[in-house]
Subunit: 252 residues, 2 copies
């Protein structure tokens, strides 16, 4: 699995943060860390038919976000130097299935399968015909961009995982992007920022302002302090890594 | 109710086509005509809180389209010469509810409530406090644009009814747009075209090509014939009304 900042620690699971962080973050942050936003699996195959089957941990959809975004997977193939979307047939039952049939591939190609944006994955299988090749791809050695943000970063309310903005950025730059978007809970908190410094990042993006917009809980002075503290935590360990601060107008 | 081409005939119901057409169109077209895509209710009120309650006829969502789009309503207010979106709190249970609270209105304003894109409405209530004014608005006398199309025209897969493209066009031009989008079933068929000629339209838009893309069912000669016949039907009755033909690339 790729798109994760701690591949060694999380091995054997699909979670976004290492288990060691469970007691360091607030419970809602941990619950959201079990969502697979931004994570993906890459494989090469010459198969004409690819079948994806998996189980999820939570509800398929939300009233304002469809099953294909909350719980869906999303397949792309690398073709002529860029990522192209692959349409498939899907079914959301006890086992979620995506089938990609009659693929026009005479040679082996690289595929990227994005995992659900707002659900956890219990297990996942990628199947091809017995006579087709299949090999899972290792992570690119390229240093990643690490994004710490809110629901907007996590992928709300994209209709497919590949349309979350971190995934779009990742494909357009062809650089890995680690998604640390925590819906409603991106609040520039020290445990997350400390963990981010463990990643040899190409850049850090702090996109938490939309979750600090309630001026009663987060008066201006508090927001200012959190921004300054956040930059200080990252700068102390990674002085040369660029930090991109984003803002957003709150309210209607 | 507005956004309907036959307001006299459909009185007392929320359907898009008059009952007299039930036997003239294919059953899936009739079923989709019971979806309220493009229809809306306008009212004026000085209320600070507006409550919308209604029942729907079908499932709340589809795997690829959220409840807020399939079955939701969507409120806009006319302010400084343009339509502004009103955020609300929603709940999808036996009765669907939308509540718009603490509206910053010192005077009476005009509101437009779009109805569900992919569901039927059984009943609907708009509530305000006892001491607030409330008056339903009559339809604008302005001649409408009439759109005959596919799921894309019906509103798939907008996250809210106000974000279907016919609704966006309607607000940006401030001209009524009649939505005759029939998901998977916009096929330039004579019963619909004949019915369209009954409407004193400002323009007709024919956007059916995406549902005529299967070259086995609809070879080029058949598509060409349907386009020519469609224009002839409209031209015969409404020779001066502009007809906009759209196309779309089919396939990936």
């Amino acid at each position: 699995m790729q798109g994760n900042g701690w591949p060694e620690q999380i091995k054997g699971s699909y979670q976004r943060l290492p288990l060691s962080m469970k007691t360091l973050v607030r419970p809602p942050v941990w619950a959201l860390a079990l969502n697979t936003a931004g994570e993906f699996i890459e494989f090469t195959t010459n198969a004409k038919n690819i079948s994806v089957r998996y189980g999820v941990t939570g509800a398929f959809n939300m009233p304002h976000m469809p099953s294909t975004g909350v719980s869906g997977t999303d397949l792309y193939t690398f073709n002529n130097g860029k990522w192209e979307w692959m349409p498939g047939k899907f079914s959301f039952k006890d086992t979620v299935t995506y089938n990609f049939n009659n693929i026009n591939a005479s040679v082996s190609k690289l595929y990227r399968l994005y995992l659900p944006l707002y659900n956890g994955v219990k297990w996942l299988q990628v199947g091809v015909a017995r006579d087709a090749s299949l090999a899972f791809a290792a992570a690119q050695p390229s240093r990643p961009v690490v994004v710490y943000g809110t629901s907007i970063a996590q992928g709300g309310c994209a209709s497919r995982p590949g349309l979350g903005w971190t995934a779009i950025l990742e494909r357009s730059l062809n650089i890995p992007v680690i998604n640390l978007g925590f819906s409603g809970n991106g609040r520039l908190e020290a445990p997350i920022l400390n963990a981010m410094t463990e990643i040899d990042a190409r850049a850090y993006i702090l996109d938490c302002i939309p979750n600090l917009g309630d001026s009663i809980s987060y008066p201006d002075a508090e927001v200012r302090k959190r921004i300054i503290d956040a930059v200080a935590i990252l700068r102390k360990v990674r002085p040369a890594v660029p930090i991109l601060l984003t803002e957003m107008e709150i309210g209607i």
